[in-house]
């Protein structure tokens, strides 16, 4: 009996020692009382993977929190507007000239043409290449202190849109380390300056008073990364956060009406049919699947109302799409239930989806029933995305419920069409090899006039839908949780902006 108390005492003595092990660097805050003095408390969903390097997933954090800016920015309609460049003009097919505004980096140095060249050079040399530069080679040259000339190898009609990508944010020279690492801590030009980054859990931002666009209304931002959607919703509901992004649809109903803000997202969920092998090489069966599947049944059930029934590949978040949509004609005739049963005899339809987005497995189960009604025998394969990506690209399945961002970094849709549906596309999970589709995508890619480019994109959409390689189901809506009294939060369909100069706790 002598030893137990001793052991117990030892264990108890360890407790305070280890109690010092809470999230690092939190000693400054006073627990739950943080956020005082008008600082915004923001709960973001995707924890940083590369210490907020603009060449990774983390890039959007820099633009969401207005830390760094590029030469241009996107306005509501998806066209380029001035940011660090106050104006630009196209000199010829491949040459553009940008006039810089007077701006200051958060480390006190001035924005010069040389700093822009430096930033763009680093982005161009980054390996792997940032997605936004995947199909273009960019050369930047400083003409004078505030003029930059950009030359592209081949004509690039969307260059100003491209430059709005957070991956091409201009940081001060200090940000770029010898070993290729890039740190945006205290090196951006935006109204908020990162003062501390604590691993993958927290960051603190202060207002940057030297911002060219005036002083931000909020004195600072306390960011916490909360990967679990329920936990984010809880943080908002319990008053631990002022802004919680991406509330899962299952939790959205639990939020008060005035804290729940939905915004159409550029994400489209669709059923991708494998045209390269298996059941769906048969166009009649693809058509039968298309007829059988009803995405609108998912809207009120799986998505709890936070989605729009699919119009095509591009939804309401792409404002120009609806007006320019081309009717799909000449589709294959759908096989009847009896034909489907006869043709698929003994073969099961392998329906794949992944667990990373909670709604997809549920959607797959609804689709399974719809497909079974049409005569298919369905077997699901549901895994974590990284566990199945190789299998997907190798075509080891018949259908995939897939959630895809349709407007990528460029704000342009051609990139998405080319990677997902062109014969040579690297993300061509549908295994589509169709000359008409390839041609339509190529024509759209070559078009420089914005209006006509959009028209051609919609023509390519029709060409793709004609093949029944993809059946759009719903256009997702993102639900952002914003506490009452917080004003000026930006609801951005592209998920690139959230907090800016005007955001404040009322």
């Amino acid at each position: 009996m002598r030893t137990t108390p001793r052991g117990l005492i030892a264990a108890l003595a360890l407790t305070p020692l280890l109690a010092g092990c809470f999230a690092p660097g939190d000693s400054g805050g006073t627990g739950a009382g943080a956020g005082s003095g008008g600082r915004l408390r923001v709960a973001l969903a995707v924890p940083p993977v590369q210490a907020l390097s603009p060449y990774s997933n983390d890039a959007t954090v820099l633009s969401k929190l207005s830390v760094a800016e590029g030469l241009t920015a996107l306005d509501k309609n998806g066209t380029a507007k001035p940011a660090l460049a106050k104006s630009w003009k196209q000199d010829d097919d491949t040459t553009w000239t940008f006039e810089l505004r007077k701006a200051e980096f958060q480390d006190g140095t001035r924005l010069t043409a040389q700093s822009v060249v430096n930033a763009l050079d680093h982005a161009g040399q980054a390996r792997p290449k940032p997605r936004v530069l995947s199909d273009v080679t960019l050369t930047a040259k400083a003409e004078d202190a505030d003029t930059v000339t950009l030359t592209t190898k081949s004509p690039d009609p969307v260059l100003p849109l491209r430059l709005a990508s957070p991956a091409l944010a201009v940081l001060s020279a200090k940000a770029y380390a010898e070993d290729g690492a890039v740190s945006p801590v205290g090196t951006g030009t935006g109204p908020f300056r990162i003062t501390r980054l604590s691993g993958k859990t927290k960051a603190a931002l202060d207002r940057f008073d030297g911002y060219w666009g005036g002083k931000a209304k909020a004195p600072g931002i306390d960011v916490s990364w909360v990967a679990d959607g329920t936990a984010r919703a809880n943080a908002l509901r319990s008053g631990e956060a002022d802004i919680a992004e991406w509330i899962p649809t299952a939790q959205a109903k639990l939020l008060d009406n005035d804290t729940r803000h939905e915004v159409p997202s550029v994400r489209t969920d669709s059923l991708v049919l494998n045209t390269g092998g298996g059941l769906f090489t048969d166009a009649g069966l693809r058509a039968a699947a298309r007829e059988a599947v009803d995405g609108s049944a998912l809207v009120d059930s799986v998505f709890g109302g936070y989605a729009d029934p699919a119009q095509g590949l591009f939804g309401p978040a792409v404002p120009w799409a609806a007006g320019k949509r081309v009717e799909v004609t000449g589709r294959a005739e759908a096989a009847t239930t009896a034909q489907v049963k006869a043709e698929t005899k003994g073969r099961t339809l392998r329906l794949a989806t992944y667990t990373n987005r909670a709604e997809l497995p549920e959607a797959a189960t609804v689709l399974q029933q719809q497909l079974e009604k049409a005569g298919f025998t369905v077997k699901q394969d549901v895994r974590e995305y990284t566990q199945m990506e190789a299998d997907l690209l190798a075509g080891k399945y018949d259908a995939l419920v897939f959630s895809r961002v349709t407007l990528l970094d460029t704000g342009d849709a051609v990139d998405y069409l080319a990677s997902d549906f062109a014969g040579e596309g690297v993300y061509n999970i549908a295994g589509l090899k169709d000359t008409a589709v390839d041609k339509a995508i190529r024509t759209a890619a070559a078009e420089r006039d914005t209006q006509r480019r959009q028209e051609k994109i919609m023509r390519a959409e029709a060409a793709i839908l004609r093949t029944d390689a993809v059946v759009p189901l719903v256009h997702e809506q993102a639900v952002q949780g914003i506490a009452t009294g917080v004003e000026g939060v930006i609801l951005d369909p592209r998920e690139r902006s959230l907090v800016d100069v005007d955001t404040r706790v009322g």
């Binding site: 092990c21 909360v226 936990a231």
Partner: protein, 584 residues
Amino acid sequence: MSVAHPSGARPSLWPAAAGRVLAGAVLLGAVALLPWLTGADPARTVLRARSADQNPTAADLAAVREQLGLDEGPFAHLTRWLGGLPRGDAGVSWVSGEPVMPQVGTALSVSLTLMLGALAVTALVAALVCARTVFLGSRRRLRRDRAGATAAVLAALPKFLLASVLATVCGVWWGWFPSSGWEGPRSMVLPSLALGIPSGAMLGGLLDQALPAAFHEPWARTAYAVGLPPGHIARDALRRTLPGMLPQLLPTVVALVGGAVAVEKIFDIPGLGRLALEAAVAQDLPVLQTATLALVLLGVGAGILVRALRHALLGRPLRDGALPALHRPPLAAPRSLRWIIAVCSVALLALVTAGLLRDPLQVDTAARLLPPSLGHPLGTDALGRDLLARLGHGALRTAGVALAVTAVSAVTGLLLGMAPRASAGPTEVVSTLPAVLTGLLIAGVTGPSVWGAACAVCVVGWSPYAAQTAALLEQERASGHIAASVALGAGRLHLLRRHLLPAVLPALLRNALLRLPTTVLVLASLGFLGLGEQPPTPEWGRLLSENQPYAELAPWTVLGPAAALVALSVVAVTGSALGRGKGE
């Protein structure tokens, strides 16, 4: 197998030490070879982790491969990593490019702190579970056995469900504690409760079963007769029984350092479990190896500590073979026992029969999340499927697989536990290992498979039983009657059959049955790797996890499955108590 002959000589420590080193080395080797064993290209997973929407072009993959030096093969990496360790350098993360050591160190300290909180709650709950037996036993008023239903109910509560409920009720509704985050002792309370209550009930249930035997020993009678205070008797009885239970701390509480992923997610705690899981999914080997090493060291360290504690508690009697064996007194089965079993069995049976008559797969999006009604006695889930039907159809599969896995694990544990010196190392190493890691290996090697989940759980699931067997056998061998039997010429087989197994089996069975619900949940938790039955097949663990997001909006979606799991566990545990009563 080594049947100890009571002797004063201390056994050599070498076999155990070698076992630990070997087990740790095998595990680390397997982790270091993970991508090469599974054939999954780390370049692809790392690129995906860095940039979710990036197209995996050949050029980008090649760039990542070159950055990471993947062409050098696994051994160059392992050597470099091992070479850096003495300098405290565990390399840089493949995904983030940041040093690994600080990341793992921080996560480990967070997880350890959380584990200590859970340990405190565990001790408290275990004390409450045994309180009645201790009180009555120390006053010699223990006449009736206990059904153990309370312990079974609490032990069957899914930790992630408990966590969800606590976060919602105490965090959001009442605002007593932070609903998420890790910002001070206040953030510790809810997760510690969620982790500690089921663990405490499990350990308390085991202790509660062992205590009557201690109170039945002659010394207790004497102590009572000479008028020693009950507190004194209780303390000595605990000292007599705790050593048999202490090894269970390892797989039950210490394992929470790496195995509390679900609870860490719900409360957004930056712990080691999440770090290891993320690293495993992204195949970020430097991080994964370092986290595994930390878990191995922790398991071995805790194992040695537990061993020392046991020997300190039992002391000389254990060494000198002067330890009388603990044997349960004949206690009358409690009156409530039959009732509890009857009610739970009838409820389960009714549930299964009624459920089997319905269609578990019929999706009706218009009937979404309906509360219980005549048409749907247990309500419907988010897709409008009838929950009663899903429970009924899932019952047989769930119970069958979980029982089979438990049986295999228990038998493996029993066999390994009989060779305690050789198995001590592997037991400690495996006890802190999350099933997800083995699941990942198996999923990589075999691809998605129905039996993969069961295999993965069996690979790590035996450690509690091995630890228990080893501890009980050690005590049993140190008891007088074994020495007497040996002196009378008893052979090994005879000893095993007539003395050793009868001493171990009842406790082992109780342990296995108390762990049954956990097994169901762990099996379901591997679903995201493609292991186990694919959806929409109904299965209780899946029912709980797929309905967890709706726990607050439609509580019935999780209450039904949770109640069914609890009922199953109660029937199993109390049934074994009834069998015990009859057997004696």
